[in-house]
């Protein structure tokens, strides 16, 4: 059974703004699905529909086998939700939040306390459990939010931009936890605007732009779709010798326009050609100063599919204001 399945899922807001415009998803149980897109692309609106916080205006969606519109109560029992901008009350302690979450899910007090203690330990907050959330760092808040989402042992976990604004160390901690949870069988639906995050965590990635899915697949498949790896190199005493160099490089692949004074060549037959290229340049009396092997990134995929870069993309204010 698919953990998440949508058919032509759509949400139109007042004024005819189509934040989500016919999205088909099929996320298998046990998968980590990365939903990638810039601000305003429809990520948050999609997550809000899948988590029953917003009703679809078109199409259908089931989560854990239940229809989000017809059986929202069943869906809520099955899902864990950690939304963007971790909504935590600074006046509560970490332990109180976990207790509140357990109670809202109808867990008996002892069971909630037991699970809560285990979860707080799991995310490394045992020491801070009785401190107010207002004193927590950004990373601690996200970890607490994650723990709160897990208190009822959900089968599908929704993480909306779980590491936005976090430092690299905190980000790594969240990633490790997500991977562990997934290894234990939890399906994870993750939205992100970080390529690295999707690349590292997701089994499959869906790229959303202007409310539609424009590409979907494993990160590796998507990247191989848009291009081959290329070499960027510069020579010792390069001036005046570019033509010689390009002649040598052309034997290995298509030369690309030079960038920042570096010479570029696409590797027709993959990375195995790096060695022979260096040897060939050496034989031609061209000494290599620096050499970088550049793999196509998810950003290249994004550019190829949408014509714009992902990180640093401009916000679309109309959509964002509504999707909030």
């Amino acid at each position: 059974m698919a953990a998440i399945e949508t058919k032509q899922l759509a949400r139109e807001f007042e004024g005819g703004i189509k934040a989500v415009d016919g999205v088909d998803l099929d996320v298998a149980g046990g998968e980590i699905y990365g939903f990638l897109g810039p601000n305003g692309a429809g990520k948050t609106t999609t997550v809000r529909m899948l988590t029953t916080l917003l009703a679809p205006t078109g199409g259908s969606a089931t989560v854990a086998g239940f229809d989000v519109a017809a059986e929202p109560g069943e869906v809520r029992r099955k899902i864990g939700v950690a939304l963007q901008e971790a909504a935590l009350d600074p006046l509560m302690t970490g332990r109180e939040l976990i207790h509140l979450q357990a109670t809202l899910h109808g867990l008996p007090r002892e069971r909630g306390d037991e699970l809560g203690d285990a979860l707080l330990g799991r995310v490394g907050l045992t020491q801070a459990a009785d401190r107010r959330v207002g004193t927590y760092s950004g990373g601690m808040r996200r970890r607490l939010d994650l723990a709160a989402a897990l208190v009822h042992e959900p089968s599908v976990l929704f993480l909306d931009e779980p590491t936005t604004g976090l430092d690299p160390v905190s980000r790594q901690a969240i990633w490790e936890e997500v991977e562990k949870l997934n290894a234990e069988g939890t399906t994870v639906f993750l939205t992100t605007q970080y390529l690295e995050e999707a690349d590292q965590l997701a089994d499959r990635v869906g790229i959303i732009s202007a409310g539609r899915i424009v590409a979907e697949g494993t990160p590796a498949a998507l990247k191989s779709e848009v291009g081959k790896p290329h070499l960027e190199l510069s020579l010792v005493d390069q001036h005046g010798r570019e033509a010689d160099c390009e002649r040598v490089l052309a034997r290995f692949g298509k030369p690309l326009p030079a960038k920042d004074g570096k010479l570029l060549v696409e590797l027709e037959h993959g990375t195995s050609e790096v060695g022979p290229i260096v040897v060939a340049l050496d034989e031609a009396g061209l000494a290599v100063e620096s050499l970088d092997l550049v793999q196509p990134s998810l950003d290249d995929v994004f550019v190829a599919k949408t014509g714009e870069h992902l990180e640093g993309a401009e916000e679309a204010p109309a959509d964002e204001a509504i999707a909030g």
């Binding site: 939304l83 901008e85 909504a87 009350d89 006046l91 109808g106």
Partner: protein, 257 residues
């Protein structure tokens, strides 16, 4: 969710709502002081109104205590709406909406906390009033007044939360406060019905909050507390609470629509 599970959920939500006054030093002070300050000011300025022909009560303080009690309850209830609007803006309320707790349970947690919170300004006001010589209303009169304070806070809280969920913004706060202010003001708050002029008399006559204030007033103005003097007030509170609860639950459903 069983009744026991619902009760547990309501309790944790109430406790969380009360953190606001127990954990933020000074946060409760304005809400506690305001009704007492109004009370002292008004009784000082208009204390001689009782000399008017047709004003049966001897002490204006006694006449005004229930009004200030209702004001305190109404402000406390409306503040619950403002707090909810903040929780909606900041995303906290999504946490509750994404949980399987029944929607009426979520509302009850908010609204019932207001009914207990409202006892704080009421207690302070009564202490001030008795200190400056207000008459003892009898245990029955006092108990009834406090019950009505709690009921009025529930009415104001359901009103405030329904607006919070409708507008999803703290900018709706003036509407929450002003609505309750007018509801209490346009009654027999400051003078008996017979002494009110024209339009105000007409509005006060049909305003259900008039019944609420008259019921709470019984013990304070030296009358016996009777069922005949009580039930119209309780009925008015129940009617308003049912109406605003319906509005609030409808607004909550629409939030996820």
């Amino acid at each position: 969710m069983s009744a026991r599970q619902s009760g547990g959920a309501i309790r944790v939500l109430m406790r969380r709502a009360l953190n606001e006054i127990t954990r933020v030093p000074g946060a409760a002070i304005p809400g506690v002081l305001a009704p007492s300050i109004f009370f002292l000011g008004l009784t000082s300025v208009f204390g001689s109104l009782t000399l008017l022909p047709g004003f049966d009560t001897q002490s204006y303080q006694s006449f005004l205590i229930p009004v200030s009690l209702m004001q305190g309850a109404a402000f406390t209830g409306a503040a619950t709406g403002v707090n909810l609007a903040r929780d909606i803006e900041q995303g906290w309320f999504d946490r509750l909406l994404a949980s399987p707790a029944p929607r009426p349970v979520l509302l009850a947690g908010l609204v019932l906390s207001a009914s207990f919170r409202a006892l704080i300004p009421a207690t302070f006001l009564l202490i001030v009033a008795f200190a400056i010589g207000a008459e003892w209303p009898g245990f029955g009169g006092l108990a009834l007044a406090l019950l009505i304070v709690m009921g009025m806070a529930i009415v104001a809280a359901t009103w405030g939360t329904s607006l919070a969920m409708r507008f999803k913004s703290q900018s709706a706060a003036p509407l929450m406060q002003a609505g309750m202010f007018l509801a209490v003001l346009l009654t027999t708050a400051y003078a008996p019905l017979e002494l009110l002029q024209g339009w105000l008399q007409e509005i006060a006559r049909i305003n259900p909050v008039t019944q609420v204030i008259e019921a709470a007033r019984q013990g304070f103005i030296g009358e016996d507390v009777t069922w005949a003097g009580t039930w119209p007030g309780l009925l008015a509170l129940a009617g308003l609470a049912v109406l605003f609860t319906w509005m609030a639950l409808r607004a909550m459903r629409r939030m996820t629509a």
